[in-house]
Subunit: 390 residues, 2 copies
């Protein structure tokens, strides 16, 4: 059985070109880039090249890029640095639908004495901009709002948010982990101070990320140690993975037009076909302002986890929300924040595509899923009631 992998918002395949670039740096050119000898020095040169490529992906200068171990570390580093830079301020603004990297950190910060505003979203997952502007205060140390949502793909008005924060002189950080590589992300187009990205969402390996820190933005290191990353992140560089992230950044620039055309086309086909063939199904989130690769679709009266298990037998890998929260039977915090009705929130599935998917795979999903939904509904105690209401 072949695997149809449509869980690319959870993680991606390392691109063959990326792995090829990485391979020599494990057992052949394994020197420490901090070393004086040429064996290490040559590695340092490759890291410089990777930094240039990752910077180019988001329109930054190389010296504005700090390599980290993952998107979560980037988020932690950004938030902690902003708070340290304004120790007298005790208020943070974020959204109710952030990734756990920001959300759980904010919860932890509440215990440390911070006041956190979780800007709500509407039933289409749109950011409540008025609520946001009313939350800004002289005590606000940081605004941290994601660029695009991992579950629904809904894209937030980060430019407007960044400009409003800048007006008030408040630093703005965005978790762009899901946006980078899927839609244009250019730090020159908005006043963003810090931006997180992750390698394994763009066909680099897991375990590497980056944090963009705008020139002139104060930065306090999160992982304190040696002089690496210009003293902004201690620890011997994750050489092979950083080189991989560089290559993946280059590929992401090349792939971007195809994500907006081919991938969008496949996503739309899958989404429309499922909506047509499966009654009582609905899309979660604003269909217009959305990542071109993501669809979150709710099927009334059944359990997302059951759907996942059944399609898994058919070789289809998807998610019932973010992989980080899969495993729980509660609807995700994102769908709850959107007040998606219980009956469809519980039966929601996320498909997230990449350029490595094919139209044949979409057709396979579109054929395989409807009979599974019908079967599960036949067994569901909620299905009759749901049907009556129609």
């Amino acid at each position: 059985m072949t695997t149809v992998y449509v869980d690319n918002n959870a993680t991606t395949r390392v691109a063959p070109e990326v792995l090829d670039e990485m391979l020599p740096y494990f057992s052949e050119y394994y020197g420490n880039p901090s070393s004086v000898h040429a064996f290490g020095g040559n590695v340092a040169k490759k890291i410089r090249e990777a930094r240039e490529k990752t910077a180019a992906l988001v329109g930054a200068s190389p010296e504005e890029i700090i390599f980290t171990s993952c998107g979560t570390e980037s988020d932690n580093a950004a938030v902690r640095s902003a708070l340290k830079s304004a120790p007298e301020k005790k208020h943070i603004i974020t959204s109710a639908v952030e990734h756990p990297a920001v959300l759980n950190l904010c919860t932890a910060l509440e215990k440390e004495g911070y006041r956190v505003t979780y800007v709500p979203v509407d039933t289409s997952g749109n950011f409540d901009f008025d609520y946001f502007t009313q939350s800004l205060s002289d005590d606000t140390a940081l605004v941290t709002v994601m660029w695009a949502n991992n579950e629904t793909g809904v894209v937030f008005p980060v430019k407007d948010i960044a400009e409003k924060a800048a007006e008030k002189g408040i630093p703005f950080h965005t978790d762009a982990v899901q946006a980078v590589g899927k839609i244009p992300v250019d730090v020159r187009e908005l006043p963003v101070n810090m931006l997180s990205l992750s390698g394994h969402k763009i066909h680099a390996p897991k375990g590497v990320g980056a944090l963009y820190v705008k020139k002139g933005t104060r930065f306090h290191p999160f992982v304190v140690g040696g002089h690496q990353e210009s003293g902004r992140r201690g620890g011997t560089e994750n050489v092979a993975s950083i080189i991989g992230l560089g290559k993946a950044s280059e590929l992401a620039v090349d792939h971007l037009p195809r994500v907006d055309t081919d991938v969008r086309h496949m996503r739309d086909y899958l989404e429309n076909t499922l909506l047509e063939t499966v009654s009582f199904s609905s899309i979660n989130g604003n269909r217009e302002r959305r990542l071109p690769n993501t669809v979150s679709i709710g099927f009334d009266a059944i359990e997302g986890e059951s759907i996942l298990m059944h399609i898994d037998y058919a070789g289809i890998c998807a998610s019932s929300g973010s992989a980080c929260t899969s495993g729980s039977l509660e609807p995700s915090h994102v769908l709850r924040a959107m007040e998606v009705p219980f009956k469809s929130a519980h039966g929601s599935i996320r498909f997230s595509l990449s350029v490595y998917n094919t139209m044949e795979e979409m057709k396979y999903i579109a054929e395989t899923l409807p009979p599974i939904i019908r079967k599960l509904r036949m067994m569901s105690p909620f299905w009759d009631r749901c049907n009556d209401k129609a």
Copy 2:
């Protein structure tokens, strides 16, 4: 020209067996271990196996191991967690010769209001145990002392230190990054609460480490995010590298007897030959209580960096201290803390061996280095004076 790599305390070659284990997890089994589908679930199983192997390396239980991104992160996590666990206590005890991961963090903590005792060492690099015991106070939140020094290889009396801290009810953390894989490290033999280790010092890739946290020791996550690592370290797991660390841990157990025999024999041969053939040379640090793979040797009246550059032309990769501080012309903080005389501290070189070195390589170094030392001394303005004193 072949490369003779004797800089294994800086970083190591990824063992071929390690790379083989890692390879399928980049582009083939690339699922997210948090996913519900079997494609991700199978990866989770491999991570469990890796955790068992890394635990076994240090005598821990698998649930006591948290995978991190590097030794530096492990150190940061341990120190920050201990301080959070005792917020009313404002004193930290460490040594003057710690790795920058601990030392620079302690400096940063001084700015946050902590009082830090840097226990001195004697001229042989031995830990001043009396000074240490006198420093313990009711206000001490943490004792963090390295197991073995990265530059000199001097091994500290961690068991005595741990027991003294335990007597006073103070948590003990040890940076065992340089000890693990070179000498027996077993957490069951001493009351250690937390222990840091790093993958790339034991033939796993750069960018992965682990923190042992003894069952019953309170732990506050450093990188806050998803539920990974039982909620103790957020961020998608660095799958391939964790699997690599597991395999490298297994290898390290196998290699340990050879480090104590073959590697020690090669190190002793190199050290004794150099001492015999080069006048005004001396070993930095206690030669008895020392890692079997490390020698720090000082050559009077010349510059370590010049030696490094000359042997680099001959294909020999060594270090003038820790790679993290190479590049500066100041003697390292370790040699300064040992009050190594200026004339030999400046001309100090560290050779650090692994099981992948050969006796032929040692002979090559022993033949290549003395003429370089003579040549450099001929050009040195300090050499005549030094010679006069003899």
